[in-house]
Structure formats: structure tokens, C-alpha cells
């Protein structure tokens, strides 16, 4: 297996007025293909900053970040946009769907930006929605869907470009427990299907689903352990 993500002594510093704020001190870590990683930590630990860096939404102020061997720090806005478009699928806590668009249109959006023609786009979006079990909700708008369904649409949108990694930021944060199980079951399934999944969360029991858990504190890695016995969401669902 090769490292998709290779982070070497990366840090992020903001300048607020005259003060320098270290959002991330120094972090070094590799993530291999088809890993299922949880990044954990309390708020202020730098996990959001790390997620933004990994997701190429932001660039580090020090160190080197290699995405599939390419240095992200040297990329301009357009190159970063292309990486996000092709290689990274985002799943947010607040879903971040466009409210005026149908499920299908929301899922098509990344393909619009990669220039896939209309009919092909529709076919692939439909496929992704089928995959997350929403094949019959393609024409519904976000406000006509439940929270769990919205998150499934968001996951379909993350999947549609067949990205190298799926980056999920508190994906169950706005969902009830049962719906949370369902979403985690979906991630487990995607992982078995070969996807690389990075989960950012502050809830230990959500992190327990991942196969590797990285804990952050004060902008540094506190621990980086293999989770020998990950939770099985399907079994928990069945038990309910």
C-alpha cells in the first residue's frame, strides 16, 4: 500500500492583529489507501485545521504536505480546486447541500466543475444516489428530506467523482442516534468497498468505528493507535 496522504512536520499559524495564533503546531502522519482513520480531539485541539489542510481547503504555513506525492503547499488556488474536485469527497456536519437544488443536482455539482457532460453527469449522480439508498429521492430538495437522507445525499455527492479519500467532519453531529448508526454503517460499507475514509469527530464512541484513531491535543498528535476491535454498526443496528 502507498501513502495517499503524507504530512511531514506541518503547522498552521494565523496572524490576528499583532498576535500569532498556532492552530496546528507540528503534525507528522501518513495515511495509506483504504485506511479508515478517525481524527479525534476536543475543540481547539486543531482537528478542524488539520481537516482543512488534508482537504486542501487551506495550505500549511510550515512543513510539507504531499498528496499522492505532490506538494500541496506549492499549489495555487486553481490546482487546489482541482485536487478537491477529483480527489476529495467532503461530508459536513451541517450537510452543506444547496437548498434550491434537487438531490440529483446537488450530487451532480462536482461533476459540473470537472466538465462532465450533462447526460453522463446525470447517470453517475443517479448511480451514487442508488448507492446510498436514495435512488427514489432524486427530485426532492433538501428541505423535503430528513436529516439522515440529507447526509446520504451529501455522501453521494462526496462519492460521485470516485475520490481518493472521503473526508467526513462530524457526520453524525446533527443526527439522532439511530440515523447516526445508519450513516456509520454506510461508511463501513464504503470502507469495505475500497474507499479511504477520514473521520473527524470529538465523540469517542463515533471514533470507535474507525480502524485507526489519531488523538490531537493543543495542535500536536497525542496518540496514534490502531483500533484492533472497531465497532460494527450493522450489528448494532440489527440489535436495536
Amino acid at each position: 500500500m502507498s501513502a495517499v496522504i503524507s504530512i511531514n512536520e506541518v503547522g498552521k499559524r494565523y496572524i490576528m492583529g499583532t498576535q500569532k495564533v498556532y492552530a496546528l503546531r507540528t503534525v507528522t502522519l501518513d495515511i495509506e489507501e483504504n485506511e479508515y482513520v478517525a481524527i479525534m480531539g476536543p475543540s481547539g485541539s486543531g482537528k478542524s485545521t488539520l481537516m482543512n489542510l488534508i482537504g486542501c481547503l487551506d495550505t500549511p504555513t510550515k512543513g510539507e504536505y504531499l498528496f499522492k506525492g505532490e506538494s500541496v503547499g506549492k499549489m495555487n488556488d486553481n490546482q487546489l480546486a482541482e485536487i478537491r474536485n477529483r480527489e476529495i469527497g467532503f461530508v459536513f456536519q451541517t450537510f452543506n447541500l444547496l437548498p434550491r437544488y434537487s438531490s440529483l443536482k446537488n450530487v451532480e455539482l462536482p461533476l459540473v466543475y470537472s466538465g462532465v457532460p450533462g447526460s453522463e453527469r446525470q447517470r453517475r449522480a443517479q448511480e451514487a444516489l442508488d448507492h446510498v439508498g436514495l435512488g427514489d429521492r432524486v427530485h426532492h430538495k433538501p428541505n423535503e428530506l430528513s436529516g439522515g437522507q440529507r447526509q446520504r445525499v451529501a455522501i453521494a455527492r462526496a462519492l460521485v467523482t470516485k475520490p481518493s479519500i472521503i473526508l467526513a467532519d462530524e457526520p453524525t453531529g446533527n443526527l439522532d442516534t439511530k440515523t447516526g448508526y445508519e450513516i456509520m454503517a454506510l461508511f463501513a460499507e464504503l470502507h469495505r468497498g475500497g474507499n479511504t475514509i477520514i473521520l473527524v469527530t470529538h465523540e469517542p464512541d463515533i471514533a470507535e468505528y474507525a480502524h485507526r484513531i489519531i488523538r490531537l491535543r493543543d495542535g500536536r498528535i497525542e496518540s496514534d493507535e490502531v483500533n484492533a476491535n472497531p465497532r460494527q454498526p450493522e450489528a448494532e443496528l440489527a440489535a436495536q
Binding site: 487551506d58 488556488d77 486553481n78 480546486a81 478537491r84 459536513f92 466543475y113 450533462g118
Partner: protein
């Protein structure tokens, strides 16, 4: 191409999301375009009808009157001018005998014509003319004959009827040879004129023509306000300037204008009349253009304002779009296209209301042909595109420059 369609569709969707605000924004643009198009449409109808009327005269005809045919003020400069008398007209004809024909007419209004028990309305022009009047102005009779040199020479009591008059009095019957009465005098009908149509909404066939000598000398239509109009036929269009010079010289002699004094009469060609109109019309056009452009400028600033609000409102959406791979340029284009589409819808609304409004307004004044100012319609479209781009650029630029992380976490 499919990308552009996608962008336009997305822009329309965004406009539909807040219909009231979109309506007002579109409305401001529409007002500017309406002003431009309505003014231009009105002017064009006016222009068309003026050109139609004037060119129906024939391009080689030079008019000699004591007042200009187009006046835009009551100006004192004309107050002391004296009408052209039949004697002066005859002198001019004499001066050009053998080189140019001189048609003459002198008219009064509101005559009724009687044939036994049938009478027309008191709405007919009663026009004294000479023989050349018919040939210079290309008038012809449908039956009978026109007024001859002898009719004029001997002041005969004969008339050529306008078609409307003949129809009222005689219907399908032959009018020629019958005797009609006007103001209790009897006249022999020698011809019925062919129709001259109804330009500017008024029939030109309500008239009675008789020899000008009878009109002036026998009936005594002469004096302060009774002038003789002359229509001189230039041998060719090329010779018009020369003919105008000769006529002017001859008239100055005939009317005893001293050297150094201004002419106390007008010598007009189709071109000179159209020129006077176009001077007036291009002033009107300027006013319309300036008003419209000012309104569009104001609307443009309004659009910039609205676009700034929209960008702020949709900061999160911009963040999402960037997260899934929209480039800065793509976001810039998205908001520019949205601004341009607002402007284009406004332009469309302005054109769609401006053309009927311009036509209707003119139609209430005079009957005119419908006009569509194609160049200005295209021009408005272009101007609105430029306004959309100009005033949309800064908001769109702000949107494009947003950092994805900050945009995504914006509340």
C-alpha cells in the same frame, strides 16, 4: 456551451429564490431601457411619417412659400412677412417660362359642395390652382380632365373634385359635366382626381380645385393671410441647388428685397425640410438617450448593491461550491452571469413595454405606421450587458476571492 447553459440555469434559479428582490432589480433596469426604447420608437414613427409625406411630393419639387413649412417656434422673425400674391407668382412663372414649370395653389378651408339635394360636410379644402400644379405634383384625374391653361386664362368657373367629394355627391354616377354649387355659385365639374391616400390618418381626397384666377380675382380670396404657394419643378435632381439659387434671386427681385436684407420668403426642397426635421429629431433623441443612460447608470449602481448583498447571503454556498471543486474563475463567471441576466431580463421588459408605449403615444397624436427601432433594441441589449459586467464585476470578484474555509464556516 453546456457549461454556459448550466450557469444560466443556476442564475435563473437564484433569481427565483427571492422573487420580489429580483423583480425590483429587474424593474430599475427596465425603466432605463423603457425610456430609451419608447423615445426612439416615438421618434422613429414621427420620422417615418414625415419622410412619407415629404417624399410623396416628388424629389425634384422645390417649394416657394412665404413661411417655412416646418416651424418649431412662433418666432417674431416671420411676423412681418407678407403673403405671396398671385401677381408675384405670375412674375416668377414668367421669369422661368420655358425652363421650369411653376405650379401654384392658394387655399381656404371648410367648404361644403352641393349637388341638388346632396351636400358634403363643410370639411373640404377649396383650392385655386394653375395648370402646371397638376403636372409638377404628379396629380391626375380618374375621369374628365385637369384644369387647363385656358381655364386659368379666362377664369372659368370649372372644378376638379376630390374623390371623397365626388363619391358623396355622385356615388357611382359620372360627375363630369354636372354643375355643383359652392357658396351659392355654380361650377361645372370637369374632372375627378385620383385618390391621394390617407397619410398621417387624414384623407387627402376632400377638396375642390378651381382655376386660381377665379379663386383670387373673381371670388376675392386675397389679402393678409391668403398666400400663393408655388411648386417649381427642377429639370433634374442634380440641378436642384442651382434652381434654388435662381429662384431665390428671382424672388428677391420680385418681392423687392434690398441687398443685405434677409429673404422674406422660403425656398425649400425635400432635403432642406428633412434636414430641419432631423435637427429637431436628433435633439429629441439626445434627450431620450441621456435620460435613459442616466437611469441605467443608477440601475447599475443598484445592481452592484444587490449583488454585494447576494454574495454575502450566499457565502456558504460559495464555500460549498469551492469545496467540491469550483475554481475562482468559475465563481466569478457565475455571479457575473447572474448580474448580466438580471440586466438582460430588464432590457427585455423595457423593450417589450417601450415599443408599444412609443407607438401608442404617437398614435394618439397622429396615425402612424408601427415602428420598431431595431438598432436601439440591439444597442440596449449591449448596453445592459456592459452594465451587468461593469457593476457585477466587483461583487463577483469578492465572491471569487473568498477563502474556502472562511466561506464554509460563515454564518
Amino acid at each position: 456551451m453546456s457549461w454556459l447553459i448550466e450557469q444560466i440555469r443556476s442564475a435563473l434559479l437564484a433569481l427565483k429564490a427571492s422573487p420580489l428582490r429580483s423583480f425590483f432589480t429587474v424593474f430599475t433596469i427596465a425603466i432605463g431601457v423603457f425610456t430609451l426604447i419608447a423615445t426612439k420608437t416615438a421618434i422613429q414613427t414621427l420620422d417615418n411619417s414625415i419622410n412619407n409625406v415629404i417624399s410623396s411630393m416628388g424629389s425634384q419639387v422645390i417649394r416657394v412659400n412665404y413661411l417655412p413649412s416646418v416651424r418649431f417656434s412662433d418666432g417674431d422673425e416671420y411676423r412681418n412677412r407678407k403673403p405671396i400674391t398671385l401677381k408675384q407668382a405670375n412674375d416668377l412663372q414668367e421669369a422661368f417660362s420655358g425652363s421650369m414649370r411653376v405650379g401654384m395653389s392658394s387655399a381656404t378651408w371648410g367648404k361644403s359642395v352641393q349637388y341638388y339635394s346632396r351636400t358634403t360636410q363643410r370639411e373640404n379644402r377649396f383650392i385655386g390652382v394653375n395648370h402646371d400644379y397638376f403636372s409638377v405634383l404628379n396629380l391626375d384625374v380618374g375621369e374628365g380632365r385637369v384644369i387647363s391653361e385656358e381655364d386659368v386664362l379666362f377664369s372659368r368657373a370649372v372644378v376638379v373634385l376630390g374623390l371623397d367629394v365626388a363619391t358623396v355627391l355622385f356615388g357611382e354616377e359620372n360627375a363630369v359635366g354636372k354643375d355643383v354649387k359652392i357658396d351659392n355659385r355654380s361650377y361645372r365639374v370637369i374632372g375627378v382626381a385620383k385618390t391621394r391616400g390617407t397619410p398621417m390618418g387624414q384623407s387627402l381626397d376632400k377638396f375642390v380645385m378651381l382655376p386660381i384666377t377665379y379663386f383670387v380675382n373673381v371670388l376675392g380670396y386675397t389679402g393678409r393671410a391668403r398666400t400663393v404657394d408655388m411648386y417649381v419643378e427642377s429639370p433634374s435632381e442634380e440641378l436642384i441647388p442651382l434652381a434654388v439659387d435662381e429662384i431665390t434671386g428671382a424672388m428677391r427681385g420680385i418681392r423687392n428685397v434690398q441687398p443685405g436684407e434677409d429673404n422674406d420668403f422660403e425656398v425649400e426642397t425635400n432635403e432642406s425640410v428633412i434636414d430641419q426635421f432631423s435637427g429637431f429629431i436628433s435633439n429629441l433623441e439626445m434627450v431620450g438617450l441621456v435620460c435613459g443612460l442616466m437611469a441605467l447608470l443608477a440601475a447599475g449602481i443598484g445592481i452592484m448593491n444587490i449583488m454585494l448583498v447576494i454574495v454575502r447571503e450566499r457565502t456558504r454556498e460559495i464555500g460549498v461550491r469551492k469545496a467540491v471543486g469550483a475554481k475562482n474563475g468559475t465563481i466569478l463567471m457565475q455571479f457575473l452571469i447572474e448580474a448580466v441576466i438580471v440586466c438582460q431580463i430588464g432590457a427585455l421588459a423595457g423593450v417589450a413595454t417601450g415599443i408599444p408605449a412609443g407607438n401608442l403615444a404617437m398614435n394618439m397624436l397622429i396615425e402612424v405606421e408601427t415602428a420598431i427601432p431595431v438598432e436601439w433594441v440591439v444597442g440596449s441589449g449591449l448596453i445592459c450587458t456592459v452594465i451587468g459586467i461593469t457593476f457585477g464585476l466587483w461583487p463577483a470578484w469578492k465572491a471569487a476571492r473568498l477563502a474556502p474555509v472562511e466561506a464554509l464556516t460563515f454564518d
